[in-house]
């Protein structure tokens, strides 16, 4: 690998600073007492405490999954802080936000001030364990949309939360989902009532600040009959030498004719160039296309985290429902990613599309793992999958593990995978036409990821393009 490529991937992480802010922090360690403490801090109803305790007891019986193609030392779950909140806890207006916190998010480019906000994007901001601010709440409430932190939703709309929480990802679904169900601290909640098209993009920004804290957020989005919403999430964390655990759960429910579009730009701290530090991103994301003609679309641009383990999935239960997954996963240095999707076709005439683009550089390892399952009743189900890998340099790895299970003779499933590269010859070709290697790399990467970037909302697409450029700076040439 030439020095230009090398130089291109080695851009410093820009979000690695720590905010000095007074926080209320629970002692390290996990027990039923920790869970009771979290629940008490949040004034939760009894049923939610029971939900947590049941999940915790189940978690104790489970084993960490061994099948992902990732390696990391054993996590000491007693060495993690499960609750950390900046003081004062919750605010009535933006004016009460700690100025230090405001400056933090300003630095990160996240608009917490409605006047300065990106036009048409409402933001919920999560700092370590709690939501610190949500913008445009009133404007959304005017059309009947509830967009707030999940803690607030538990207080204000307990019946809605109770009806849907854990229905898509059951509390014992997998090791990290069970852990999340036991200790989740905050997250976003949105509810789009029947027939309402959400007038703006909804967005949550996650920030881990405390060194020893884990982040266990829980997001729940419900789109009722005929409703539609586009939701964005972004994440960053400071640079620490130690690893922080992020084990989130996201549940989406789409009823008849509803449409949910969920986009992620994940830029958690990835560790340094020797692989020290970084976030363990062990996330369960699943959408349930419950109603007929419902539509759930996942788009992710994964560039951060030391380890990524996530499979945003769609359960296509409603007849004629549609699931989509568009992903760019970039790994560099010693990052490891085992990511992909599951498309579970249960209802008739369900369709799914998977487009996955993996880019590996440095000594990283990038795996696509996907499941397409066509159940016996899913007549005429269709799936199309395209999984492409690009390798930059000779020390990285790219793997593709697609599982295709078909139990219906009328189904049609197509899967294709290819590899491509940015090699000396490609770069030389660009150079001989006057184009610098940096521009060449950016053009090739953008071409490679085009089908995914097209799915992102405009501002995010621009962000994502820049982010990939930064992440790869130094790796090509």
């Amino acid at each position: 690998m030439s020095t230009v490529l090398e130089h291109l991937v080695n851009q410093p992480y820009k979000h690695g600073f720590v905010t000095e802010i007074e926080a209320e922090t629970a002692p390290k360690g996990l027990s039923e007492d920790t869970i009771r403490l979290i629940s008490a801090k949040k004034n939760e109803p009894e049923w939610l405490l029971e939900f947590r305790l049941k999940a915790y007891r189940h978690w104790l019986t489970m084993a960490e999954p061994a099948w992902p193609n990732v390696k990391y030392p054993k996590i000491d779950f007693q060495d993690i802080i499960y609750y950390s909140a900046p003081k004062p806890k919750k605010l009535n207006s933006m004016d009460e936000v700690d100025p230090e916190l405001l400056r933090t998010f300003e630095k990160l480019g996240v608009p917490m001030n409605e006047r300065a906000a990106l036009a048409g994007v409402a933001v919920d901001v999560i700092f370590d364990s709690v939501s610190v601010a949500t913008t445009y709440k009133q404007k959304l409430a005017d059309v009947g949309i509830i967009f707030c932190s999940i803690s607030e939703a538990v207080r204000e709309h307990p019946e809605l939360v109770r009806r849907y929480l854990g229905t898509v990802v059951p509390s014992g679904d997998n090791y990290y989902a069970a852990l999340n169900s036991a200790v989740f601290t905050d997250g976003s909640f949105c509810f789009i009532p029947r027939g309402v098209k959400c007038p703006m993009e909804l967005s949550t920004y996650f920030r881990i600040n405390t060194q020893e804290s884990g982040q266990f957020e829980r997001t729940l989005i419900v789109a009722e009959e005929g409703a539609s919403v586009s939701y964005l999430e972004g994440c960053t964390a400071p640079k620490f030498d130690t690893n922080q655990l992020h084990a989130a759960v996201v549940e989406l429910v789409a009823l008849d004719n509803a449409r949910i579009k969920y986009s992620t730009v994940q830029n958690w701290y990835a560790g340094d160039e020797r692989g020290k530090g970084g976030i363990y991103n062990f996330v369960t994301k699943r959408g349930l296309c419950k109603g007929v003609n419902s539509h759930i679309s996942w788009t992710q641009v994964e560039t951060g985290s030391a380890i990524t383990w996530k499979y945003p999935s769609c359960v296509l239960l409603g007849e004629n429902s549609v699931g989509e997954f568009y992903s760019v996963a970039l790994t560099n240095h010693h990052q490891q990613a085992d990511t992909g999707t599951k498309m579970v076709h249960i209802g008739r005439d369900t369709r799914s599309t998977i487009v996955s683009k993996g880019i590996s550089a440095g000594s990283s390892n990038n795996s696509y793992r996907g499941l397409v399952k066509i159940g016996p009743k899913a007549d005429r189900a269709r799936n199309y999958s395209q999984c492409d890998s690009m390798l930059i340099g000779a020390r990285c790895g790219a793997n593709t593990f697609p599982y295709i299970q078909v139990q219906n003779a009328t189904a049609r499933v197509e899967h294709e995978a290819t590899t491509s590269k940015i090699g000396e010859d490609q770069l030389f070709y660009f150079q001989s036409r006057g184009v610098s290697p940096e521009e060449a790399v950016s053009m090739i990467i953008n071409g490679f990821c085009k089908d995914v970037f097209q799915q992102l909302p405009m501002e995010f697409a621009v962000e994502a393009t820049k982010l990939l450029g930064l992440k790869l700076e130094g790796s090509v040439g």
């Binding site: 030439s2 000396e424 030389f428 036409r433 006057g434 184009v435 053009m443 090739i444 071409g447």
Partner: protein, 264 residues
């Protein structure tokens, strides 16, 4: 067109080079003046393509000794993209495929970078589209090229046409075409010849690296050089190309050996 007073565009002196430790070029001398067409011919493995790629700055080769001046600059001090911006153009023998990158975006980026470096205004996509379509019409190249990825899935002939289109857009001072004619049918060959003939003015020059005389029926060279074993062993005019066509290369090689012996 030979004009002994025309300015020297490219001057190669005693060039030797290796790839992976093996000596490929063993002392090349060549002077190219404005307005001239040079043909470099020779059997396979004689070093013709290596010479062309070294001039463009391919990283696989190591220059051991000798100098190359490109107009008033030391060529080896320039990165490949700087050479291109100053007007050196290599038409590739095997143009690479770059899936996902749209050909029209690539052409526009190259055009704006190269012509921009010479003080020309950047063209926006619409302006560029007009320009490129005009060029394509002139060269008889199918406009469907614009909607495809760079060389991706192109046939051999299509790739070569795309090279000629790039040459026409970038208006080089010195164009080096590396076996651009090989494997082409007669129509594609005409496109290539047409492109070169459009380019030729008293200010520019062209170096054709070729194995066959065929292309020289369409583009009349001022000089024909025979390369063998990493050296230019004979230089003549168009008549030499015809003689090579009729008699092959062996007699030149023999004659050269004879001369070497006589010298020794």
């Amino acid at each position: 067109m030979i004009d002994p007073n025309a300015s020297v565009l490219l001057e190669v002196r005693g060039l030797t080079a290796t790839v992976a430790g093996v000596e490929i070029l063993k002392g090349i001398d060549l002077t190219v003046r404005a307005g001239e067409v040079h043909a470099i011919m020779g059997p396979n493995g004689s070093g013709k393509s290596t010479f062309a790629r070294i001039l463009a700055g391919h990283p696989a080769y190591e220059v051991k000794s000798g100098t190359v001046r490109f107009e008033d600059r030391d060529l080896f001090e320039l990165a490949p993209e700087e050479r291109a911006r100053r007007g050196l153009f290599l038409g590739f023998q095997y143009p690479v495929e770059i899936p996902g990158v749209s050909n029209s975006a690539f052409l526009r980026l190259a055009y704006n970078t190269v012509l921009g470096a010479r003080g020309r205004d950047e063209l926006d996509p619409l302006e560029f589209d007009d320009l490129v379509r005009e060029k394509m019409k002139l060269l008889d190249i199918d406009t469907s090229f614009l909607d495809r990825s760079v060389n991706d899935g192109f046939s051999g002939g299509e790739k070569k046409r795309n090279e000629i289109l790039q040459m026409a857009l970038l208006e080089p001072r010195v164009a080096i075409l590396d076996e651009t004619d090989s494997g082409l049918d007669i129509d594609a060959l005409r496109v290539v010849a047409n492109g070169v003939n459009h380019l030729l003015t008293p200010e520019n020059a062209c170096v054709l690296v070729t194995h066959y005389q065929r292309l020289l029926n369409y583009i009349v060279p001022d000089y024909v050089h025979v390369m063998e074993g990493g050296r230019i062993i004979m230089t003549g005019d168009k008549a030499l190309a015809l003689e090579l066509e009729a008699r092959g290369y062996d007699w030149v090689v023999e004659a050269h050996k004879g001369r070497d012996k006589a010298a020794a």
